[in-house]
């Protein structure tokens, strides 16, 4: 009997000694947050859209020329490249003042792949068109040209 009660007392002491020696600690939670923005930027050198030499006597249909507009966007973001800034869609020959109307259309926009060096290149192809009639009736000129301003929005 005495042995049993002693064992119980020892057990109680051990339990409390263990409890008392544990270093209590407090804890707190900290939220970690960040927001990745959707952005797009033109990149690289814009290629000119060149029709080359036009021989009005040999035009058999509408003339088209294309150029790639390259850009980078936040991964997964698809931009819209639009024509802004007063383009009249008329090329003018600086020497003679003669003009040739044309139209300009954007193709499918690649979805953004990010901004790292290893991110795949992305672009939209622009197609300029001179109608067959306008090409056939064009007046002679050295260099017909227009500068178009583009804007990229995400």
């Amino acid at each position: 009997m005495t042995t049993h009660s002693f064992a119980r007392a020892v057990t109680a002491l051990v339990l409390f000694t263990t409890w008392g020696s544990v270093q209590a600690s407090g804890s707190a939670t900290v939220d970690v947050t960040a927001s990745v923005s959707a952005v797009c930027q033109f990149s690289g050198t814009m290629s000119a859209i060149a029709f080359g030499a036009i021989d009005p006597s040999a035009v058999a249909g509408d003339l088209t020329a294309t150029g790639n507009i390259t850009y980078k966007c936040t991964k997964g973001t698809t931009p819209t490249v639009s024509i802004t800034g007063g383009a009249s869609r008329t090329m003018t020959d600086a020497g003679t003042g003669n003009t040739i109307p044309y139209s300009l259309a954007m193709g499918t926009h690649d979805t953004g792949t990010g901004f790292s060096a290893s991110a795949a290149a992305t672009k939209v192809q622009a197609t300029a068109t001179i109608s067959q009639t306008n090409a056939q009736d064009a007046k002679a000129g050295t260099t017909y040209k227009e500068t178009v301003t583009l804007t990229i929005n995400n």
Partner: protein
Amino acid sequence: MKSAPALIAGFASLLLAVAAYGQGSPPGGGGPPGGVAGCSFDAGGITGLNFGTLDPSSGTIVTATATLMVGNCGAGRTMSLSIDNGRRGNRTMIRDGGNELIAYSLSAPTFSPGTADGPGIGAYKPATFTGTVMPGAYMDAVAGVYRDLLVVTVTP
């Protein structure tokens, strides 16, 4: 069957143990290191680790600092803080509604310019730590809000 004297003896020993424990470590902290009452955080004094807006086109290293008010324990104690590795165990934020991750790293918490000495019962002092996101971690990230949750522990 146990005899009454044996039960009483056991109960008395148990009471003695409780009494001895209670004297050694008063509630609320302030006792010597090793006592059960530890330091704690002021829940109202915790700021999140908010990296703000990460612009993938910028390619800059982004840092943010979190502050926690910790104390409520006596000057005889040296507070030590540890931070876990977040919800995925690798210190990454995950995009809301997605599974993309952005990795970040953390500095060790410091009490600078103060010390790690306990400020006393009912008093708290600021501890800070800094998080860093490297450009490569977010330049190709999908747009959205990213989150993680850290658990910071103070000992004792």
